[in-house]
């Protein structure tokens, strides 16, 4: 087993809801709620879930774009939640992000050359000439033409812009890249190109990815392990293979079953989950999923189940009171 690169313990992020002229706190959005996980060197950890499940907030909290409400994040022997400005700057060299909408995350008034040079300049790396060479090398690596240096983001298509975002993320030779819906806005033919590029870069540079997406098929493809989130909590975590072959949590089961498969002979096999996701500002008591769960009992309405290892498995974790009884026949 490779070494643990990053570890989140009891990590939560709550956003206050303020109202009135005094802006008093009247409630809290529980975006991420007591999440624990380890990230191993060289792996891809997929994080899936529907809108509002907290997957993007989790990604942003890990790099302290949001200040965590509780918990610790250990990276490289340090607790990032306690890190000061200098430590943070150093940490951000090692942990980079790629966002969903490359147009919103690239400054439209900077040329691509400037965009790619900026992280190098900020961290005082090399002379201007060396930085120029590095930029050329980066463009080449992500499959963009050299004349891109002089051009601006609007001159590129969505797929090319995402390549610029990737080039910027790898500019500082990071250890971890957090990809937040990195291929979701792209057409399928382009999505496949960008996924291939991400996998190549991972092998070449020994990168570790946290791959956040709502697209189950993409997450299965790229991830070694997958965490499923629901209403701010991880409800199931296992190797990609195990999770998709034998999902143990009723939510994961429903989610996988709802995924339309590009095969007309498999029509009508969907198990349909009733209802909507509850509001994270007013999460239900007990298990967060019990309002939609077909197997709920009284216990589910009172106690929130902890994420624990599923029978005899050290790698498959599930947070459900009835995981064992529900999955007896598998």
């Amino acid at each position: 087993m490779s070494k643990v690169l990053l570890e989140a313990q009891d990590l939560s992020k709550h956003f206050p809801i303020r109202a009135g002229i005094l802006k008093r706190e009247v409630g809290r959005v529980h975006a991420v709620n007591h999440v624990n996980f380890e990230l191993f060197e060289g792996e891809t950890l997929g994080v899936v879930g529907e809108s509002g499940c907290g997957k993007s907030t989790l990604g942003r909290t890990l790099v302290r774009l949001y200040e965590p409400t509780t918990g610790t994040i250990h990276f490289d022997g340090k607790d990032l939640t306690q890190a000061d400005k200098f430590d943070l700057k150093k940490m951000r060299r090692d942990i980079q992000m790629i966002f969903q909408d490359p147009y919103a995350s690239l400054n439209p008034r900077m040329s691509v050359g400037k965009i790619l040079e900026e992280p190098l300049a900020l961290h005082d790396i090399g002379t201007p000439k060396e930085r120029q060479e590095r930029v050329q090398q980066l463009l080449d690596r992500v499959g963009l033409p050299q004349d891109a240096i002089w051009r601006y983001p609007h001159e590129f298509s969505g797929g090319q812009r995402q390549r610029i975002g990737i080039a910027r993320a790898i500019a500082l030779n990071p250890k971890i890249i957090i990809c937040d819906e990195a291929v979701s806005a792209l057409d399928v033919s382009i999505q496949a190109q960008v996924l291939n590029l991400l996998v190549e870069l991972q092998k070449e540079l020994g990168l570790t990815y946290i791959f956040i997406s709502h697209d189950l098929a993409v997450v299965r493809y790229i991830s070694d392990r997958v965490a499923v989130m629901y209403l701010g909590e991880i409800v199931e975590m296992a190797s990609s293979e195990d999770l998709y072959a034998t999902p143990r949590h009723p939510y994961t089961q429903a989610l996988l079953s709802a995924l339309p498969v590009p095969d007309p002979t498999k029509r009508g096999t969907t198990k349909i989950l009733a209802g909507d996701v509850p509001s994270p500002s007013n999460p239900p008591p007990g298990c967060a999923f019990h309002t939609r769960c077909p197997h709920k009992t009284d216990a589910c309405m009172q106690d929130n189940p902890a994420l624990k290892a599923f029978t005899n498995s050290s790698q498959h974790f599930v947070a459900c009171h009835h995981a064992e009884t529900l999955n007896q026949d598998n």
Partner: protein, 329 residues
């Protein structure tokens, strides 16, 4: 088995005048919608699928858009010859549409009830009371919990899935013959998407509506479609039954699209079969076949003239020189 053709689109050409010159996002498109069936139009951004549907609704903006040619036959009449008033009567009554983002399609300052009642008042000349009862019944039909309460609420008070149900209720209010659904589930989460697709299917069986389902999601196509049309850069490049398209795709683009999707057996040790390059700009289309620059099979002939749709079976057609020749051999 002959099926009744409800809507016949014949050689439709739509152009737009822009600052950078004229473009033709729909370039001679023909297809038929059968009664009670679902036709899916698939393609990536900019392939012309949405412009095609707006033409059927008579919603191409007059300022710079123009329908250059072709015919849209419905019920023995050519919709392209209809006046504005005639089209207004038809829209929402015989042909209705739902859009990707219900929040922008619903009016934020009117209640849900008001907006559904408007359809009845306009097309059925009902009184307020009658319209209210019908609207309420429609909300029940689309399985919105607590419909009486919802009638008095505004769009922002509903979740995305509920809003899309309201859109469906509104579009089916007059029991239209044709429902055009433009990416109706794209903005929804998978579990909600499954609910909405299921609902649409139930209502379709119930009411016998024909559906034109526009989407880029091949998984959804496999789930809902009877017939499929694949578009690329303004052309139809392949069409057939849903089984023709998924089991035996003929056009290299259709094959490429299907191969691009990560399958359950794929792991990241195997590279995905991506289509190289990107969709050509409508301002600068290549000569001949519009797919040739991205095509692995392209040869010289592909650059000289554009291929026409050729029959592979009674239901299956594709526009590719190379596949046609290989098939003949």
């Amino acid at each position: 088995m002959a099926q009744e053709v409800l809507l016949n689109v014949e050689n439709l050409v739509v152009s737009f005048d822009t600052d950078r010159g004229k473009i033709t996002p729909v370039n001679g498109v023909s297809f038929q919608v059968k009664r009670g069936k679902t036709l899916a139009i698939v393609g990536e951004s900019g392939c012309g699928k949405s412009v095609t549907s707006l033409s059927i609704m008579g919603l191409i903006p007059g300022a710079n858009g123009k329908i250059e040619g072709g015919a849209i036959e419905y019920d023995g009449q050519d919709l392209l010859k209809f006046s504005g008033t005639q089209m207004r009567k038809l829209r929402g009554d015989k042909i209705a549409m739902i859009f990707q983002e219900p929040m922008t399609a619903l009016n934020p300052v009117y209640t849900i009830g008001n907006q559904i009642m408007e359809v009845y008042k306009l097309h059925r000349e009902m009184s307020k009371k009658e319209a209210f009862d019908h609207a309420l019944a429609m909300l029940e039909k689309v399985k919105i919990p607590d419909p009486k309460q919802r009638m008095r609420e505004y769009p922002h008070q509903l979740s995305g899935g509920m809003r899309q149900r309201v859109m469906i209720a509104m579009s089916l209010a007059c029991n239209p013959d044709v429902l055009i659904a433009d990416e109706p589930t794209t903005a929804l989460d998978v579990t909600i998407q499954a609910q909405v697709l299921d609902l649409m299917k139930d209502l379709q069986t119930d009411l016998g509506t024909s559906v034109i389902f526009i989407t880029h999601d091949l998984g959804v196509v496999a789930e809902v479609a009877d017939d499929v049309v694949v578009m690329y850069a303004g052309d139809i490049i392949e069409r057939g039954t849903v089984f023709d398209i998924f089991k035996d795709p003929k056009h290299p683009y259709t094959q490429g699209l299907l191969d691009s999707l990560p399958k359950s057996s794929d792991t990241k040790n195997e590279e995905l079969q991506a289509i190289k390059g990107m969709v050509p700009s409508l301002f600068d289309l290549p000569q001949g076949c519009r797919f040739k620059d991205r095509c692995a099979l392209a040869e010289e002939a592909c650059g000289e003239s554009s291929p026409e749709l050729e029959k592979f079976s009674d239901t299956h057609e594709a526009a590719c020189f190379v596949t046609s020749r290989n098939n003949a051999a």
